[in-house]
């Protein structure tokens, strides 16, 4: 099991990620436990699963080519949404995270899964991820330092919705 960092601390993880089978078939959903289901499964069986999501024991995960638009109506039902990074250089998940937070108002746990490396954590955090399932080979203690990489950022982000230029002006700096 990969190490989980949540809110900048190493924590135990109760969630079980369900993946498609080897032929692409959708997984069975076990009757108990905290499960994260693929988006396609959610879309197919939404009505049957909704109460479980609302009880806080079912989350959904998006792959990099999935659109967060598909969850727009349901986003507040989920305790957890995970976004997969299939390769460390694939940056689509950063946009997905911002859309989930900024456009659709998701307030639950937003978890990065897949190729999640030390050197990604800072930007992922800025984009609204608050949980990180580190790839197994990563050193979690070292990775914690990544959150302090930069003390500020120029742009708007989930973490800093007001861009630096407005904060500079407000502080009267020039």
């Amino acid at each position: 099991m990969a190490t989980l960092i949540k809110e900048r601390r190493i924590v135990a993880d109760s969630w079980h990620l369900l993946e498609r089978g080897p032929k692409g078939e959708l997984p069975e959903v076990p009757a108990r436990g905290d499960v994260v289901v693929p988006l396609a499964l959610w879309l197919e069986r939404r009505d049957g699963l909704l109460s479980r999501a609302e009880k806080g024991t079912l989350g959904v995960w998006l792959d990099a080519n999935d659109g967060p638009e598909a969850l727009a109506a349901d986003v507040r039902s989920f305790p957890l949404i995970a976004v997969n990074f299939p390769k460390f250089g694939d940056g689509r998940g950063y946009s997905i995270a911002r859309l989930l937070r900024e456009r659709y108002g998701f307030k639950g746990e937003l978890r990065a899964i897949g190729d999640v490396l030390h050197d990604h954590l800072f930007f992922m955090y800025q984009c609204g991820f608050d949980a990180f399932a580190l790839r197994e080979d990563q050193d979690p203690q070292e990775a914690l330092s990544a959150f302090n990489t930069f003390s500020d950022g120029y742009q708007t982000s989930v973490l800093r919705p007001v861009p630096l230029f407005r904060r500079r002006l407000a502080a009267g700096k020039s």
């Binding site: 930007f123 992922m124 800025q126 050193d139 500020d152 742009q155 708007t156 007001v162 230029f165 500079r168």
Partner: protein, 571 residues
Amino acid sequence: MYRYDEIDQKLVDERVVQFRDQTKRFLAGKLSEDEFRALRLRNGLYIQRYAPMLRIAIPYGLLSTKQLRKLAQITDKYDRGYGHFSTRQNLQLNWPKLERVPDILAELATVQMHAIQTSGNSFRNITTDHFAGVAQDEIVDSFVWCEIIRQWSTFHPEFSYLPRKFKFAVNGAKSDRAAVAVHDIGLHAVKDEKGEVGFRVLVGGGLGRTPAIGFVIRDFLPWRHLLTYIEAILRVYNRYGRRDNIHKARIKILVKERGPEKFREEVDAEWAHLKDGAATLVPEEIARIEGRFTRPNYLRLPATDARFEAALATDRAFANWHKRNVHPHKKAGYAAVTLSLKKTGVPPGDVTVEQMEKIADLADRYSFGELRVSHEQNLIFADVQLSDLHLLWQDVRALGFATPNVGLLTNIICCPGGDFCSLANAKSIPVAEAIQQRFDDLDYLHDIGEIDVNISGCMNACGHHHVGHIGILGVDKSGEEWYQIEIGGNQGEIRPGRGASLGKVIGPSFARAEVPDVIEKLIECYLARRDSEAERFIDVVHRVGAEPFKESVYGNADQRAAHRRGQLASA
């Protein structure tokens, strides 16, 4: 120069710490080769043919003499005594040691410099007109807008892992000297009828193996919306740009696959959510950025200078240099000067440590301690008094930078090529040199007039061959170096009425030794057909078409067909 505030400085310092840690983890075996590659590239560090290559950012090409002296020091201490100014207005060092790169970055940070996002799949150094702020046809000072976009694009949390590299150019004058149509995004400043500043926004241009001219996604984007609109474009690209094939990953391919209209609709739909949000620019921010630029303390001077006029009238060599390498200035009594890094026998763009130091001294003496790097790989002193020109010329000539060839055939844009670069299919520097040697007669050069000759050693097109009036591309044919010739390319609307265009290949490629002959035939063909000296090579190509040029090189259509039959028969 834009002067950092404490936050700008802190971010650059923090980058040094970050990269030092990444290098340490790589050397300790905690970061794989592949993963470190992605990280070092966004710090400008390549592993090249013989050694690493470090690309140092010179944001929008603007450099202070303090910075240039630091670059000289670094080049001396960590490299082999010379650097290479690139077509992205950056400086490349070809021999630094990997483990010392963090130290180099730390030294750069002391003079407000860095290597952030100079390569990799990231938002690259922004380029602009090398006459920004001094051009007579200025609409806005593009440096200010470049700096605003530099800040926005630096460490952008959402757009740091784009499908592919992303090149951005800003032009702030009437003439397009920034080649905005061949960038992923190009901005051309315009004013509307009320005098409000905005930008014509072009998307999807680029060179490389699939060259394309950008399309105008917006005719007039009011300046306040600049950042939110760019954000919308980048978000559409980041989400939908192809990631399955590195050769199809640039935004130009997405634009092509979607179609420009559909692409525009998608951007507009995204922008509808972002428009008027917190990233909307305000006049106070523009003023703040403007205020952080140092400005030359110009004297009030008459429009002419008697000593200068006398030197022009009596010193022919000076007059030749003035004709090509001195450019008009918006302030009376001043001129901008190009130091040509295109002397025959010296690789285009290369400068030694001693030369860097001497150039810094001259810029202090003659041009308010600042200089610019042009995308044509020359250096610019932007603010020289007319009364100093004759003295400056003598000093510059002593350094070997007074070749009076700006805009002429020997002012060749050339990538480092197979002598240095591991991507290259063929050498490019010796080709440039052979052409320069062939056309060493200055009177003949002036007679030929303005022409851009661009050379790339491979289809990645770092030498911008697609937009050379004559473009030369090194190709590999079963292990041998061959050269394809294109004509008809144009980097942008420098002269009214002749916009950006891509060159077309004239026919089968040539051995290296044949290239100067071919160029000579093309030039002769042009000279025989131009209707006056004012009609440039590129104008003639567009007026008469490529056929006469092909004929001059390969013979007429019948001769070419016979030749092909002969080749087929012998094959």
